[in-house]
Subunit: 132 residues, 6 copies
């Protein structure tokens, strides 16, 4: 099994609901350093999993929809906590939609799976892994 | 599949038995930067795998039992080499016991698996992965 | 010249005023991974610059006043942009006040200087350096 | 499941064929920081997966065959793009051959799998995973 | 004293002349992860050293002139070894020229100094520091 | 001003005397990831500060005298705390002696200064800087 990973980041504000979150119930923020891993059983005719440049562009486009925003004001997240793990799934699912729509070319449809990891600090990160 | 990882560290002394270890047969030491990854198929009602604060506290408590010690003097490790990979299992198993005892709440019992990685330097690390 | 550095982090929300900031004029957020460096010409009687544990506690206390907050709502920052470099100075000055008040003991008063670095992502960081 | 990872690096020149590569069709180069992960279900009699020193030596020997070279001039790679993911497989397969030939001792033959990751920059890396 | 640092990278091929370089006399390559640090005594009216976005663009523009190239073929480097430390000076001097030409606005002319660091691997890097 | 930095590591045991050290008064240990920075005003005839390979060898030789040892048993450290900052000075001074003795060639005698940084964990490190 092969994989290629690209890294980007986003800077957002949000707050959480639920006693378990303690002071994180207040409006605060995070830089998420985001790694997107693309998996594929065999390489394509160019001997790659996916072009790193195109993969980076697609990840950047997905993050641009969230970057520099207060996620509490985004209707897509109404009534849910935008925890690091929940955001990992949102980024992965949005990348998967783009891939299904052809954003990574025909080869992109040969991908087997996707892992998205969001690093919220030097001591905590979360991942979501899914099939394609 | 979702996961959350938290990082902490411990600083211990130990020595190894066996020719394969060369100079590491002498009493020496290590800083282990320790990553504990908690896996879960679905998020809980708060939209998280586990609270990062509580997960950090449990990892810290497990490492506190080992931190600032000479492991050669710990009866729990009599007759065994406390290699990086062996210590990864010890940390993982002790975390698993705590989770089974309810340390991460009822939700902690929904966890599917655990990975513990100990980084012994910038060029070597070891992991142990187990089900919960 | 000797130095000791300790690392911690904070997660805040804020917005900026000024066209130069583009989309960062919107309410967003950041994780700042914060390094505080303490400088001293000679070591003390214990052969250290400052106790790493106490230095970590003081840095944590300074960051706790900012952590999990929307800095736009903090009167201390009214009318100013809480840029990464400006926050580096705020953290450094607050640490300096604590040191002057004896938070690091008599030895703390022997310190010559302080550098505070705030990492806002894997590709951007800012520092402020001052004498003590 | 246990694993041990060791890190080394190599510095090579190469070029790619195919429009998808854009400017990387020109002769350029890369530092690959290379992580080799060795997996094993149970530890050996010394309580290790593999000796970290020996694992490092084998990885270094494999990389030495590629290091400081223009891969375009290496007959082994004639007619293929030496992409990061393709090189990950080459390093993994060459390590597997050495292990099969006894380079890591009899214990090396108990290894279950191997993962090789090549980091081409701070924002992109690729992996190849195989059984042993 | 304040500073802001931005990070980018370039991937080049080159060779060195001189016995001291050993196998690096052969055509090989490197990824250079490049940090550019901009220093200034006082913050500007926006409370910043320099806009991180603009600083990143200028660094990217300087690196784009070198990226994906064989530096042995670049007339600018005829008869010189493009060592990591020499390239750090080249990047710094080209950034300084742009700043003097107004690339970072009038505020850019208030900058006091510049440091450029090129990381050639996880275990070696070089810097060049100059006044502006 | 130019500089070149090389990284290596050592794994030692030791204990500290003095109440300020708390549990670190017990025999424990550390991995020190060690960065040695060599400074020089102008590059040499080969266009370098110092050969990275030779610099790495000298740093490795200095660390080899300490690696895999219990520093409490080393006569060189009798009656002193081998704190991270104190060890940074020891490594720097031993490197300086070697350079003075010609270990880096005639060019090594053109070096202006040396900085040694010891990272004891992901959240704490110490440096010592001296002239040559």
């Amino acid at each position: 099994m092969f994989s290629v990973t690209v890294r980007d980041h986003m800077m957002i504000a949000h707050s959480f609901e639920g006693e378990v979150f303690g002071p994180a119930q207040q409006l605060h923020g995070a830089t998420y350093v985001v790694d997107a891993t693309f998996r594929r059983a065999e390489l394509d005719a160019d001997n790659i999993v996916v072009d790193i440049g195109r993969a980076s562009e697609e990840l950047h486009a997905v993050l641009a929809e969230l970057n520099y925003r207060n996620l509490d004001d985004d209707d897509a997240f109404a009534g849910m906590n935008t925890s690091t793990e929940a955001l990992a799934k949102i980024v992965a699912d949005r990348l998967a939609e783009r891939i299904a729509a052809g954003a990574l070319g025909d080869g992109g449809r040969e991908l087997d799976g996707l892992v998205v990891t969001l690093h919220e600090s030097h001591i905590a990160w979360a991942s979501y892994e899914r099939r394609l």
